[in-house]
Amino acid sequence: MTVGTDWATAWVRGTIDTVSEHRAELISLDREIGDADHGENLDRGFQAVATKLDTLTPETPADVLKMVASTLISTVGGASGPLLGTAYLKAAGSIAGKTELGSADIVALLTAARDGVVLRGKAEPGDKTMIDAWTPAVEAAAAAEAAGADVPAVLSAAADAAEKGAADTEPLVARKGRASYLGERAIGHRDPGAQSSSLILREAAIAAGEK
């Protein structure tokens, strides 16, 4: 089976809701090792996405993702605006022109998104950033696709790995972003960017009808 523009739209709608629901939790995670604004900034960005989604008539999944990219870059601020915006922009580029996406397209999309974040933020796995959710997600998606999984299963594998990756940031010392100033004091706290990325990836799986 494949997914199309309806999936992309449902993914974004799900993300708008989940970011809003987890706003306080993300603020609280960010208060521990950052500056207590991640939930606020992300929610402001996705509420702006919600407004634009109502007037958008997308023809391809890439149209949806491109709108999300430009909206996040122009509304979120902080580091997560340019980083997540670039992720959506590169994801859109990887599937430009396609109306239906198969498992291989999904892997390409997730890989491009991850590479975009790395390009902007220059973080590596283990630096306690959103990359620690994205990289395991990309690897799990690729493995699932290679084993013949369909789109919902590929996205579920990605979301599971992202959730585990976000949880696995807890024992890490941060080497990028504001948490890097804490040194050892960042240990024991989950990275808010990895957490929000895992929420976003879970919505992609739910939108594809994961079992």
Binding site: D37, I73, G81, P82, G177, R178, S180, Y181, L182
Partner: protein, 333 residues
């Protein structure tokens, strides 16, 4: 927590609107997107200077917009970088045909948003150079951190680069002067109490009644250590030693000594810090030839202060002394 605000969502917009009204002789306000520009911008033939960052550090940056300093300031939400859109708009608004210098404090969000804005402004034909300020010695500059933070030294960069632009230096020359200030300025701060971000409504970190945080950042990010409160002179020694070791500052140097308040500490205490810092510098054979004391780079209502030392030479001294006319710094004009 009591604050003199209306809706927390409108804090920045309402404050900036008031600032523009109060200083209508110096600045103009753009609301969509939000930035403050010098009232005579763009100044034809002059390099434009743009800075910005999260709000909550007032008078930084809008308070330094005017003759001899910044051409535009871009305020983001409280403690959050502005997005690229207003940075691009401000860059366009102040480009007098000689290019624009972005002065950016080294925080990941500020750097990424200014970098994105510079790319897009360049694509529209404006030459942009960027100088990153990273004067905070409390943070180790290594591959394993985001690098040193940009703190109070930013004011000195903005003043001196602004004077260079005002006397007609080219973009490369202004950038070179700004980089020289960055290379020769070092800072470190201390916090006694946390700040409260209006939309969060809770302190952004906690300190016990008898505790202070040495090496605090301007958003309340922790620094080197939490210790018990000590007499002011001992705190000055703790802040000054790492600053002096780092450059290093040496006997025979002329310096500018800047004691900056974080917003909640009164001048009476800042001058106690200044007194001890000047004493230590004199003991080391370092001559304070210029000084600045006051709340210039704040962290909302945080109680605390930072010390900044800039090594001066004739060029930097001349540029520091040059006329400036902004809401927060004004002399010679």
């Amino acid at each position: 927590m009591k604050k003199l605000i209306n809706d927390p969502k409108n804090v920045v917009d309402e404050s900036v609107a008031g600032f523009a009204l109060a200083h209508a002789d110096l600045v103009t306000l753009s609301t969509e997107p939000l930035f403050i520009a010098r009232s005579d911008a763009p100044v034809s033939g002059k390099v434009g200077l743009v800075s910005g960052g999260g709000s909550g550090h007032e008078p930084l940056h809008a308070g330094f917009v005017g003759f001899g300093m910044l051409d535009a300031a871009v305020p983001g939400p409280v403690f959050t970088s502005p997005t690229p859109d207003p940075i691009i708009a401000a860059t366009q608004a102040v480009d007098g045909g000689s290019g624009v210098l972005h002065i950016v404090k080294n925080y990941t969000g500020d750097v990424l948003n200014f970098e994105t804005a510079a790319d897009l402004a360049e694509a529209e034909g404006i030459t942009v150079r960027t100088v990153i300020v990273d004067d905070d010695v409390a943070v180790k500059d290594s591959l394993y951190t985001a690098g040193r933070r940009g703190v109070a030294g930013t004011v000195l960069v903005e003043k001196i680069a602004g004077a260079a632009a005002e006397r007609g230096d080219s973009l490369d020359e202004v950038a070179t002067v700004a980089e020289k200030v960055v290379a020769q300025v070092r800072s470190m701060g201390v916090a006694l109490t946390p700040s409260v971000v209006p939309h969060a409504g809770e302190p952004s970190f906690t300190l016990a009644d008898d505790e202070i945080e040495i090496g605090i950042g301007i958003h309340g990010e922790p620094g080197r250590a939490k210790i018990s409160l000590e007499p002011a002179d001992q705190i000055v020694d703790r802040l000054l030693e790492p600053i002096l070791e780092d450059l290093p500052f040496e006997s025979g140097d002329d310096v500018l000594l800047f004691v900056n308040g974080m917003g909640g500490t009164p001048q009476i205490e800042l001058y106690i810090l200044y007194r001890r810092a000047a004493e230590v510098l004199a003991e080391r054979g370092i001559t304070v030839t210029r000084s600045l004391v006051g709340n210039y780079v704040t962290a909302l209502e945080m109680q605390g202060a930072s010390l900044t030392v800039l090594k001066l030479d004739d060029e930097l001294t001349t540029l520091w002394d040059a006329p400036v006319q902004t809401a927060a710094l004004r002399w010679g004009r």
